[in-house]
């Protein structure tokens, strides 16, 4: 499937002339966010690095078409969302997703927040909670996972998520609500 570049205007307020004037700055500010969104979506470090690179390259090539109607982050996220969707639906890459040597270790990811806990007990509890949500997000549908990640990891509001995913505002709310229901069910199942 061919990725559709997110160059269509999205109605928000932003100054185009300054937004993409220095693309190095765009990479510095948004590169990590793009990478972690893709990584949390695919759980494959190699694929995440490749797609993050691809996302920024496409944004660079299409920077003249950016009209500044949305924020740069929303625009970049829209490209990233499309890349993740295309990657997930690509049959030829399914083998590599299963056999990926760079598959993300959920335990290692959750350990990072546990390291900041005040006591060993709190560290264990924090790690378990983070791991539970990691596992719960794996069971979500791609749309639910995308919406959840954009809302809680990237702190985007419903309108921004709608712009980044191309969904209607009501559809975003439905996916987010269902995602939260499933995460909560998982958390309650662990207790």
């Amino acid at each position: 499937m061919e990725t559709v570049l997110a160059t269509e205007p999205i109605s928000h307020g932003s100054d185009r002339s300054t937004a993409l004037a220095d693309f190095d700055d765009v990479v510095r500010v948004h590169g990590q966010a793009i990478y972690r969104f893709i990584l949390a979506s695919l759980r494959d470090q190699d694929a995440a690095e490749t797609l993050a690179q691809d996302c920024l390259m496409r944004a660079f090539q299409a920077r003249d078409k950016f009209r500044g109607d949305s924020s740069v982050k929303t625009w970049l996220m829209r490209i990233a969302v499309n890349l993740v969707r295309d990657h997930a639906s690509s049959e030829r890459l399914k083998f590599w997703r299963r056999a990926g040597k760079a598959a993300l270790s959920i335990g290692a990811a959750a350990q990072r927040v546990a390291d900041r806990a005040y006591s060993p007990e709190a560290a264990v509890a924090a790690k378990q909670k983070a791991e539970t949500v990691w596992k719960a997000t794996a069971d979500l549908s791609p749309k639910q996972r995308t919406v959840l990640l954009l809302r809680f990891v990237e702190d985007m509001d419903i309108l921004e998520i709608a712009a980044a995913t191309g969904m209607k505002e009501g559809t975003v709310k439905v996916h987010l609500f269902r995602a939260l229901q499933r995460v909560r069910a998982r958390i309650e199942g662990v207790k």
Binding site: Q53, R112, W134, V153, F177, Q181, R184
Partner: protein, 138 residues
Amino acid sequence: MSHLSEKEILECIAGETRPEWRDHIQSCPDCSARARQLSEPLRLFADSVREMVPIRPVFRQSQSYRHLPYWSAFVAAALLLLIAAPLFRGRRAEVAQPASAISDEVLLQRIQTAVAESVPGAMAPLAITPSSDSENAE
């Protein structure tokens, strides 16, 4: 106000907070605890994702040429051709020179020698063998 329903708590966490719901969660320990049961794991999960950094730089494109317009490649290729074409032509002239350098006299002599031979050089052994056989027979 009665306790918030599960749906209302989920909507609060999703960011659809109404002022009265927010006020209630802040004042009601029961609803606050129920909201925290989901919001805290989500916050820890988000923190764990945010702390991930790529192993390699996210954007590895060479910084030196990416600001050049695409037609600069054609200009560079044209310049290369302009420089290389005269050199190539000179080289061809050098290669062709030895053939024309042979003088007419030497060439004529070679032709005379070739015409004087009864058979081509490569067939000479074949031409000699039958005659020697016939001499033996006599």
